[in-house]
Amino acid sequence: MGDVMQNHPAATAARKSRTLRAQAAAGARIAQLLLGFACAFLFWYLTVDVWQLPRFANLPGPSEVFSEWFSPDPIYGLSFYTPDYYWHILHSLARVGVAFVLATLLGVPLGLLMGWSQRVREYVFPLFELLRPIPPLAWVPLAILMFHGTETPVIFLTFLAAFFATALNSMLGARSIDPSLIRAARCLGAGEWRLFSRIVVPGALPQVFSGLQISLGVAWFSLVAAEMVSGEYGLGYLINTGYSMATYPTIFIGMITLGVVGYLTSVVIRLIEHALLRWGNDEQGGRS
């Protein structure tokens, strides 16, 4: 019966027009996106290269940055063709990765427990709220005193803010669950563990994921700050040395790369979220 309906000429036509509309909408979106980028680059080009406004004159223009970036033989030593470029990216990615995974592994369970159990919340939350507003940069001296080498302090600093964001959002997620669902599960005879694993965890998941997005953002944020303070590789380090060595196009390359890599990592989280939260956005009838 469903097949008959689907093959009906009217249904086919409707589907075709729907696809066309979707394509048109996607085309319009891409056009808007390109226009946005074009405006930003135009502004950059005009202020630096054409008008040469007072404070902008020292900056490299887009043409200089991009010709440096795509040059096999870059003037300041860094482009798509130099292994160093990828080495910096890799270092930053690895640090963010380790810090983010640690923050997730520790922050999600702690946050859910704080949300679920009033006693855990009473013990942990005041301390948590006291530590949370301390900016990662304020931890720099402690981090350097506490940890050996250059890697661990950087990872620690990156971890901190990410951890607080993750734990806080997981807690709010666990607390935001409709109390009727908890009551319903109790009525149906669920014990504490089943209540936690089958109701609290999935119920909190959407907010846990928005916490992970925030966490990833602040991880990149504190990573760059930490890399500017210590470290010998990484995009933050690259930007900082670009400033001190006056290799200005490198700063732009580092910044734009950070934007792109940061965006791609948050896309990865969003994909995982989509895969896990199918019940919220799947219209097709689940597993059958």
């Binding site: 009727s180 089958r198 119920g203």
Partner: protein, 281 residues
């Protein structure tokens, strides 16, 4: 024998229930010496203005909170009373909530089997088999693998009733379950509930503020006074079950609705006056 009740379980007795809410220095009397004796298989409709404390009574039966004094027994067993401040929530008294409480991350089948699998009274395959039967009885075959968001609100309510019935409860506690539905869907829900009750005559404590709903469904309706909640009028609805919507045009039905309406109207006026008096300094 107007209550076709072949079962003997599900005798719910509320004796002298009192509930006082204390917040800081203010005491609010929510339920005032309320007694109800609900027979096995009876559909007892509690009617009263919104916010009158009917839900408080239901929550005490369900075990979501305790009573200040009084006792509640189910088939002679003390749920809540002297020495037992609060009933334990359990599958013998399943609640269907006002806004629906299906677990959105579980399919219909997982929702319906959640009870027995939590209580470990059935294996997964037994539970699934029983769930499929119940869903088929309720006209919901083929919905097993849908998620609640993919269902209409009427279907969601029926799934929720099936989920409750999976546990063979002694009492079904319905807290204005059809409040958010449009009137056509609601009429369908009413007939579906009565059909279900004809198959499996479980005791039902049904809370509503809709009089017609109460008269249509109930063996008995109990009109509650507004704050504090106390039964002011009990009325046996002497229309034989199973009923369908054709009875709503009968004289008997209209007569019951009208006499209940007078009582409720009086209570609503009192409640309104009380709120007015409260609002005034």
């Amino acid at each position: 024998m107007k209550r076709a009740a072949p079962t003997s379980i599900g005798h719910l007795k509320i004796e002298d229930a009192v509930k006082v809410y204390r917040s800081r220095n203010v005491e609010t009397l929510a339920v005032d010496h309320c007694s109800l004796d609900i027979q096995p298989g009876e559909i007892c409709m509690i009617v009263g203005p919104s916010g009158c404390g009917k839900t408080t009574l239901l929550n005490a039966v369900a075990g979501f909170h305790g009573l200040t004094s009084g006792r509640i027994t189910l088939d002679g067993e003390l749920l809540c009373g002297p020495g037992k401040p609060m009933a334990e929530p359990g599958p013998d008294r399943v609640v269907v909530f006002q806004n629906g409480a299906l677990f959105p991350w579980m399919t219909v089948l997982d929702n319906v089997t959640f009870g027995p699998l939590s209580q470990k009274t059935m294996t997964t395959s037994e539970a699934r088999e029983k769930a499929r039967e119940l869903l088929a009885d309720a006209g919901l075959a083929g919905m097993e693998h849908r998620y609640p968001e993919q269902l209409s609100s009427g279907v969601r309510r029926r799934v929720e009733i099936a989920r409750a019935m999976m546990n063979d409860p002694a009492v079904l506690l319905l807290d204005e379950p059809y409040r958010a539905l449009d009137s056509l869907t609601r009429a369908m829900m009413h007939e579906a509930l009565l059909e279900m009750h004809a198959r499996r005559p479980v005791t039902i404590l049904f809370i509503t503020h809709d009089l017609e709903e109460a008269v249509f469904l109930g063996h008995r309706i109990v009109v509650m006074s507004a704050r504090p909640c106390r039964p002011t009028l009990q009325m046996e609805i002497d229309i034989p079950h199973p009923r369908d919507y054709s009875i709503t045009t009968s004289d008997a039905y209209r007569g019951y609705v009208e006499s209940a309406l007078d009582a409720v109207h009086l209570e609503a006026q009192k409640s309104f006056a009380a709120n007015e008096a409260e609002a005034r300094p």
